[in-house]
Symmetry: C2
Subunit: 143 residues, 2 copies
Amino acid sequence: MKLSSEQINQKLKDAGLRVTPQRHAILEAVYTLGNHPSAEQVIDYIRVNHPGIATGTVYNVLDVLVDSRLVKRVKTDKDAMRYDAIMNRHHHIYCAETDRIEDYFDEELDDLLQSYFRKKNLQNFKIEDIILQIKGNFNDNSE
Amino acid sequence: MKLSSEQINQKLKDAGLRVTPQRHAILEAVYTLGNHPSAEQVIDYIRVNHPGIATGTVYNVLDVLVDSRLVKRVKTDKDAMRYDAIMNRHHHIYCAETDRIEDYFDEELDDLLQSYFRKKNLQNFKIEDIILQIKGNFNDNSE
DNA sequence: TTCTTATATAGGAATCATTCTTATCTAAGA
DNA sequence: TCTTAGATAAGAATGATTCCTATATAAGAA
């Protein structure tokens, strides 16, 4: 998803963050790259137009964006952390072999799960979020 | 879950693996420790009785056990990988603050999900496994 | 049993994503 | 303009994990 420069700034402001060129560039990168980029991909992307931004700053800013709920962390079976600018509730379809992640939106499923666990009423645990990791293999190479 | 020495050996053999003292000690550690130990916890545990087992060997053996489907990897929000000797299908209840993981078994839920996705019939993806990560907070400190 | 050889392990260096440290810089209010 | 808390640059440090190589060992062959 591509956002305008103004939209990026607005998101930062709405989150109560100071707008800096670094934060702008990094948030824009996560949106533009899409498909759950790693920190390294973000770095490669922003270095083209902002060669001066330090590696540590990218990690620092990504942490800030996560804390401010502008971005989510996504774990995979591989080492590196991935980031996701889509904040609506969704699940992940994941292939461990290729490390490819696709988003999966399904309100019907979310409702189903919510009512299931309300009925189940787990003792000793307050559920905040339920995320499905749907593992398997993609049948094609389309992105 | 505590297994006898013979049961450990049998599991290694059934998986087509050579039985070595290192493999025996490490698989036994994952079973005995329970509750999704990290490699470091496994190392601390086995060093008491097997001070000579090298750190690299523990990672190496854990990889072998995972490849042989005797153990599963479990990711959390923290850095270190965790390991799980329970191979039956199950989900995880997880608290990010304390990094505590509890297993969640629920065949009814598994059936529900299976029929839901069969009906949904995802294009371009062959589902092998669906894992729920149920995130939130435990209401007490019981283990 | 002894020999042979593929496999496994010890020991420690190397890697790599991420974090930390410190000095410098900058945005926003006084 | 001045002040200062917050942000960044640069690169060292960390820590889990992997890699490398010489040595050791398990399991089948003789």
